[in-house]
Each structure stands twice: as structure tokens, then as C-alpha cells.
Symmetry: C2
Subunit: 351 residues, 2 copies
């Protein structure tokens, strides 16, 4: 490709600020290779819902499907804003995109940069990736309530897990592990309690492992995994887990590696039947929105994951190298969102 | 009462070793008050299952129901032992006891002792308690699988939540908060995704909060809660959460406060329609079993929770004071399980 047809969904809060920087960096990174970025911006999110009542209209979803990839900022109302039903935008926009575009690999790398402060006293070397299932599990929205609001209310949530859904994400995790130096997969679940889903995951890992004799694998219950995440995070190489456990573990991993300001993610459709979407793990942080206080690094690293997915590996490496250098040279002096973005853009351009 | 009719389930692995010490300390603690402990030991657990095929026979359950309280060690086979179906003993013994005896308050205090090493660089003062729901949620065992072992397998897990179950545990959390200096309840859930269960919990917290005007409350998604657990654990006072989120958070909390060797828990039936059960949060640790290497402190602190539940508050304080003094004076020199237990017993006796 000599151009990237890019959908950009800046979203709410700090989303537009960090996305703007990610787009600058991304554009600079592929310039080297003579590739042009053609961005199309989409107004979607809590603010857009307040103005129009729309979350994700069918026509917009269809339009998004024609793009090469999606760069996503962050969405969500301010916590106190009671005009927006809680979770509505998350479900009707973010999760709807992940499910509609079959983003079955929710990829979340975690790395501790040398100079970044971890809350851990002895973090050791941290460099792992969580392959979180993105299209099923407890996230399917399959629940209900009976006699809501009465003393006899019963509320259910159903976790749906399929061989199809589990196998493809487990295979992706093993493939990624086979390309990494340590070649190790850790399945995280809670199969002693969630027997049926847990055993499907366990059996699938055993089966797929046969295809990757060079990859070792082990298993941790989710509760034990959180312990290791703070006592021995360097034990992890590739973690594969379900949608909910992945949500929990990746926020914890982000905290342990110096904060959510650096945590990138990709919502990836590995079969390429629809565009993949790349977003920082952090939310819209309404409290600091519009103040140029947000760290755009997570959004910028998400753009690198985007380029990797589209096959622009050298451009992705340029971004990662520039981010590493920038992060390692941080002194603690405050910079604006744009200053960080511009510094990294400059480094990418000079690479 | 001038005697305690105590059921003791030592279990597997390090269970018998730590339970023996907890029983010594408990007995010494109530001696001051002229109270006798009459223990009845029950052989239950993975080893017992291997020998007899029994997990929890109906007659044993009925017998347990006649006791004042249950002191529980730890259960579970060695990880590699393929003779025992994975999770069988956990579900058919431990979870069956929690559900059958209606242990709706799974109480797990977390406190960082002055000299104990936390994996956190700046842990601050940590002193909170998790009130984990113990009788419903994703733990109900309500799942299934269709076409298991085929490429068309579908596996489900249903989380069941009732107004009855949520309200009683939320009220317990508020009551506990009202008796603590900071008087603060944090609800942890994921109501933006698990809408039906999440909203039941949220509405219930709002309603019960009306009864406790002196208690403040806030809300965190489980993913955000894990971040705060490592970046600002002192923000927590009383956490109330469901069975699965509570399982995850309390292991993380134990890690952050210096390890699972100190984490105590109570499975409490606050209506006293059946005996409550007290157990260390840790498992049976087969790798160090029988070697007098296990730290009995978590089991001993669980005995203090037991005494509190039975109304022997002074005896419970004696144990806590002795444990504090013991823990604060630890030098890192290795002591056997019995040495630690005897040191604490002596301190309790001399109190
Ligand atoms: C906003 C929310 C629905 C989302 C999730 O739970 O997946 C977020 O926490 C994330 O991890 O991307
Ligand atoms: C052994 C297991 C079933 C149990 C649980 O998940 O509740 C344990 O992890 C705990 O926290 O007591």
C-alpha cells in the first residue's frame, strides 16, 4: 500500500488530544516509506450522544468497515454526568465495534521502561503481552433481571464461550509466543470454579500446544495471577485469557509498569474480514480533559500496533524506538500533550 | 458460653500444620476467660477423597451443623496429581460448605504490619477489609457445555445475583464501616459491562446507604480497583463486592500486604442459622507440606475472627495483639510452623 485509509475516532475527554498526537506520529513514521495517511474523522462518543442521541448508527458502522484500520481515542462521560445512562456509550459504541468487527484478539503489551517508576519496589524486567479474548465471555451482554427493584429481584449474567472463539485466540497467543525469545504461554482462568468455560479453555490450550512444540505453557487461576503480577511480573511472557480476566489483568499490568499513560492496545481481527482498531487502555479522563495534561504515549504506542497490523513493521519500530528514547529521557518536568507528541514525531522523522 | 464446641477440618498439605497452631493459640486465648475448647476433628479433603471417594457426606454436613464454629485449614491436591478431577474438592467440599451453611459474608481483612515487606515501594498505611459475597454470583455452579470436545462446543457460566443475597452483604459492609474510624464503603463491580448484576449491586448500595448517613461510599470498576490496590491501597476502608471480584481482589490485597501467609478470612453466616467457618486465604501448598515451613499466622488470625464471631472479643484482641507483636519483631530468621505457633501461644497466655 502507498496510502492508509484511516478512520479516526477521537471520542471524549482527553481522547481528541491524545489521538491528535498519535496521528502526527503515525503520519511521520510512514512518510519514510513513501506512505500517505488519509484520515477520516468520526464524531462518536458521549458528547456526540448528548448532541444527537446516536451511539453508532448502522451507516457509520458500514462506512468504518471500508477503512484500513481505526485509531480510537477514548470515550465516556464525566463520572457525575447523570444525563448519560451508565455504560451506554461503552456498550453501544466501544463494545459494539469490538464485537461487530470481530476483534477477537485484544492485544495488550506490557513493558517496564528503565527509568519509569513502577509502584513495585523490585519490579525486575517486565516485558509480556496479554492476548485477551475480545468477542465473547462475560462481555456478550447476555443477562437479564426478573422483578427488578423488588426484594425478589434476580439478576443474571451469562458468560458465553465457544470452541471457535477460544481456539482462534489461543492459537494467536501461541503463534505470538513462538516468535518471542522466551516462548511461553500462561493461560489465566478460574477453572476450579468456572468449570465449563474453564475446561474449554484448558482443553483448547492443551490441543493447540501440540502444534507449537517449541512453546511451553502453564496455567494460573486469576487470583494467583494477580499475586504474581505484583510479586514476580517477569515470570510472564504471553498471557492468554478471557475477556473479563483480561480486562482486570491488563489494568493491573499497566499500573505495575508505571501507569495507564503508557499502556497501548489493539482490537484485532486477525482474519482481516474487517478493520482492526487501536486504542490506549486508558479512559477519557474527563477531569484533565482539554488541559493538555494527558500523556499521549499510550495512544502513540497504539498507533505502532496499528502499523504492525497493516504490515508497516519498520514504521512501527521507528515509533517504538522514539517512544523508548523519549520515555527513558523523561526527567519528571511537566510537558504538554502536544509537546510530548511533537518530541516523538521529531524523533521518528529523524530516525 | 463456658465452652466452644469446635469443628476442626485440617484438610490437606500444610492445612494440618497451620491448623494445629491456630487451635493452640485459640485455646490459650479463651483460657483467660475460663472458656474451654472442645475440638472435633473431621478428616476431609483431597487425601480423604483418595482414600474413601467421599467429599462431604450428608451425615458429616449434618454433624458439622451442630457445632459452634468451624476452623478450616486448607484443601487441595498437588497440582500434578491427575487422580483428582481438578477443582472437585474445592467445589464439593469448600464451596459446598460455604453455600450449605449460608456463609454470605466472606470477610477478609488486609493490614500491612510495620515491618513486613510489601512488594510496593511506597505502600503507605494499609488497613481495610473486603466483604466478599459468599453464596451467589459466578460461583453458583450454574453452567454447562453443549457439544463438548467438538469444534462446535459452547460453554456457559451463569452468574446469579439476588436482591436478598446482595442486600444482606451490602448491609453487613455498611454496618462494619459504621464501626470503623474512616466509615467508608467502596463498591467494586463492573456495571458498565455486567449491566444487570451491576445495577442490582449499585441500586442496593444506594438504598442501604440511606440507613447509614454517617458512612460515605464510592464505586470502582474491578479493573480500576486493581490499579488503586497497587498505587494507593490506603484509599480503601471497607470494600464490598461479589464472589468472583472478591476472590481476585483479596488475593491481590494479600500480596500487597506482604503475602498470603498473613491473610485471614471468615465465611460468616451473620444470621447464625448455621456455624461459620474460618480459614486462611492461602491454599494447601503441597510443595512445602509436612516440612514445618508454612507460616501459621493466617490460620491464627482466622481463629481470632472466629472468636470475634462467637462474641469472645477480648480473646480475639489477645490473639491480634500477640500476632502484631510477633510479626513486628520478625527478623527474617527462619522459624518452624510450630515455633511461630508456640511463640504466639506464649504471648497470648502471658497477655
Ligand atoms: C470501557 C470498558 C467497557 C472497557 C472494557 O471493559 O473492556 C475498558 O475497561 C477496556 O479495558 O478497554
Ligand atoms: C479454592 C477456591 C475455590 C477459593 C475461591 O475461589 O473462593 C479460594 O481461591 C478462596 O479464595 O478461598
Amino acid at each position: 500500500v502507498s496510502s492508509i485509509d484511516l478512520a479516526v475516532i477521537p471520542g471524549d475527554g482527553i481522547g481528541p488530544e491524545v489521538t491528535a498526537e498519535a496521528l502526527k506520529v503515525l503520519t511521520a513514521a510512514v512518510e519514510h516509506d513513501g506512505v500517505e495517511v488519509n484520515p477520516t474523522h468520526y464524531a462518536l462518543g458521549a458528547q456526540h450522544w448528548l448532541e444527537t442521541g446516536e451511539t453508532l448508527p448502522a451507516a457509520v458502522l458500514e462506512d468504518l468497515k471500508t477503512r484500513d484500520a481505526i485509531l480510537f481515542g477514548a470515550i465516556g462521560a464525566a463520572p457525575g454526568d447523570t444525563r448519560i445512562p451508565s455504560g451506554l456509550i461503552e456498550r453501544e459504541l466501544l463494545l459494539k465495534l469490538r464485537f461487530s468487527l470481530d476483534h477477537y484478539v485484544n492485544l495488550r503489551p506490557s513493558r517496564l521502561y528503565g527509568t519509569v517508576g513502577s509502584p513495585l519496589a523490585n519490579p525486575g524486567e517486565i516485558d509480556f503481552v496479554v492476548v485477551r479474548e475480545g468477542t465473547e465471555g462475560p462481555y456478550v451482554g447476555n443477562g437479564g433481571s426478573l422483578r427488578a427493584g423488588t426484594p425478589h429481584e434476580v439478576a443474571t449474567e451469562v458468560s458465553l464461550n465457544t470452541a471457535h472463539g477460544v481456539e482462534r485466540v489461543v492459537r494467536d497467543a501461541f503463534r505470538r509466543a513462538s516468535e518471542r525469545p522466551r516462548k511461553k504461554v500462561t493461560l489465566v482462568h478460574k477453572h476450579n470454579v468456572l468449570v465449563f468455560a474453564g475446561h474449554l479453555w484448558k482443553r483448547t490450550v492443551e490441543a493447540v500446544a501440540q502444534e507449537f512444540p517449541e512453546v511451553t505453557h502453564d496455567y494460573l487461576h486469576i487470583d494467583a495471577a494477580t499475586i504474581f503480577m505484583v510479586t514476580d511480573p517477569s515470570r510472564f511472557d504471553v498471557i492468554v485469557t478471557d475477556n473479563l480476566f483480561g480486562d482486570i489483568l491488563t489494568d493491573l499490568a499497566a499500573a505495575v509498569t508505571g501507569g495507564i499513560g503508557l499502556a497501548a492496545s489493539g482490537n484485532i481481527n486477525m482474519d482481516r474480514t474487517a478493520p482492526s482498531m487501536f486504542e490506549p487502555v486508558h479512559g477519557s479522563a474527563p477531569d484533565i480533559a482539554g488541559q493538555q495534561k494527558a500523556d499521549p504515549t499510550a495512544a502513540i504506542l497504539s498507533a505502532a500496533l496499528l502499523l504492525d497490523h497493516l504490515g508497516h513493521h519498520q514504521a512501527a519500530r521507528r515509533i517504538e524506538t522514539a517512544v523508548s528514547a523519549d520515555v527513558e529521557s523523561r526527567t519528571g518536568a511537566a510537558r504538554t500533550t502536544a509537546e510530548i507528541g511533537e518530541a516523538i514525531t521529531r524523533a521518528v522523522r529523524e530516525a
